[in-house]
């Protein structure tokens, strides 16, 4: 397929890896924000192509992973009401809430449906006027225009049985929170190419300026990611901090203006809790007052909940790039994609799931070698 195959060309990838190795003279810690990029790195073993000096840590950019536990619990509570049809993106279904997940609710008889696009949820509402249809509207800036369009469409049609349970997060405030954190080790960021496709690059320019940290807007194929790493290494080695755009085929400086306009019309910025990380000021989107009739929180008077994560799950530190999934004692044993303790093991964009799918054999092999060498002693 055009614009995919050529960015998976191993010849070019090797060329880039050689160039990165030649450009690197000292250790650097780089973070990719987006879970889609994490998966590409693991799937193609890009971290193993890089020189030892370059450490890649994985960021919080998995929308499913950072959706608060309370939102999952609210979705389950709504789904179990007989008058409700709960519509969700597929990868939210197995995300554990505090006691259950949407799959289990479905097995208990809840009407939970999977949609590829939020517009399908609007269609379901239109076809079921006697039921209340709730769409679990999660995501980063990439998904906000689509979710905003669903709300806008429902409002312009005058639908009275459609609402959104919103959990929307924004990338730049999360980078800011990481940078001011005492534990931060990150020296350069690969910014998420699809978020920037929608939002443009201006917000990242101010991050570069405020923290003197290089940021490269990167794509999602192996060649894209290696090219972004090379751009970061060249800047770091030269002592520079600039914003660069590797993903020019999709990202423009101003972003997608019609999408930004609709998002601004439907949503407003507010404080947002991130699962595993906590509250980050002004880091989320909520429906505007004009859309109150489409806000599931108000329609159903869900109130506030506060619940704790399972103690054994270290996803909080994984999502902040402080730990690797394989540092977790439960990884691959008590926590698997079939039976996850935390959200990053569930999502197709979660770091734990990426390591589980592409690296767990390597981990087992390493452990065996370790045990053998201990026994030999």
């Amino acid at each position: 397929m055009k614009y995919l195959d050529e960015y998976r060309d191993h010849r070019i990838a090797r060329g880039l890896a050689t160039e990165i190795a030649q450009s690197t003279t000292q250790p650097w810690v780089l973070m990719e924000i987006c879970g889609g990029q994490t998966h590409t790195i693991m799937r193609y073993g890009l971290d193993e192509l890089l020189p030892r000096e370059i450490e890649i840590v994985h960021g919080p950019g998995c929308p499913v992973c950072v959706t608060p536990l309370e939102t999952v619990d609210k979705a389950i509570a709504l789904a179990l009401r007989p008058d409700v049809i709960l519509v969700s993106y597929g990868d939210m279904l197995r995300v554990p809430g505090s006691h259950s997940d949407l799959f289990r609710a479905k097995a208990q008889g809840a009407d939970v449906r999977i949609a590829y696009s939020p517009m399908e949820a609007v269609k379901i509402a239109r076809a079921n006027p006697e039921r209340k249809v709730v769409f679990l509207a999660i995501g980063f800036e990439t998904t906000a225009p689509a979710n905003a369009m669903a709300a806008w469409q429902a409002r312009s049609e005058g639908l009275t049985n459609f609402s959104l349970l919103v959990s929307h997060v924004l990338v730049p405030p999360a980078i800011r929170a990481l940078m001011v954190s005492q534990t931060n080790r990150v020296q350069g960021f690969i910014a998420p190419g699809h978020v920037c496709t929608v939002m443009g690059c201006a917000e990242y320019e101010s991050l570069v300026r405020d923290f003197r940290v290089p940021i490269v807007v990167g794509g999602f194929e192996p060649v894209d990611i290696l090219a972004a790493v090379l751009m970061l290494v060249r800047q770091l080695e030269a002592g520079e901090a600039r914003l660069e755009n590797q993903y020019v085929r999709s990202v423009s400086y101003q972003g997608n203006l019609p999408a930004q306009q609709l998002v601004g019309e439907v949503f407003e910025i507010g404080d947002q809790k991130w699962r595993g990380i906590g509250m980050i000021p002004q880091s989320g989107l909520r429906l505007r007052e004009e859309y109150a009739a489409f806000d599931a929180n108000r329609v159903f008077d869900l109130g506030e909940m506060s619940v704790d994560e399972p103690a054994e799950c270290i996803s909080a530190r994984v999502l902040q790039g402080l730990k690797k999934p394989t540092d977790c004692a439960a990884f691959g044993m008590r926590c698997t994609p079939e039976n996850p303790l935390g959200a990053p093991m569930v999502s197709t964009e979660g770091a734990c799931a990426a390591y589980y799918h592409y690296r767990r054999h390597a981990v087992v092999k390493q452990e065996k070698l370790c045990q053998q060498s201990l026994q030999a002693k």
Binding site: T18, P145, A146
Partner: protein, 99 residues
């Protein structure tokens, strides 16, 4: 073709942050809403064009949860790809990397 499974996963599996490129086969005007039939490898899906009014027949668009979010800039893509390709050609002439 090795790329197909992941494409199927993205189109059918409802992942939340991935977007994939597809080619516009046909434009469908539906009142104020504008949609298109878009081809992803062997799969064709209906995609909303509301956010990329400039996209036309034969263009490639990045698609996320049923919405085109950008029209791929073919000239920019070609220009940057050429630079990358030259790097790959250089690599092919070098001896294999040491383990």
């Amino acid at each position: 073709m090795a790329v197909i499974p992941s494409v199927v996963l993205t189109v059918e599996g409802a992942t939340v942050c991935l977007a994939i490129p597809g080619k516009i086969l046909e434009i469908q005007e539906q009142g104020p809403l504008r949609a298109a039939r878009v081809q992803f490898g062997g799969i064709v899906r209906q995609v909303s064009l509301n956010f990329v009014p400039e996209a036309g027949l034969g263009d490639y668009v990045m698609v996320h949860v049923g919405f085109a979010i950008s029209r791929i800039d073919a000239a920019e893509a070609e220009r940057t790809y050429k630079v990358l390709e030259e790097m790959g050609e250089l690599e092919a002439e070098l001896p294999p990397a040491e383990a």
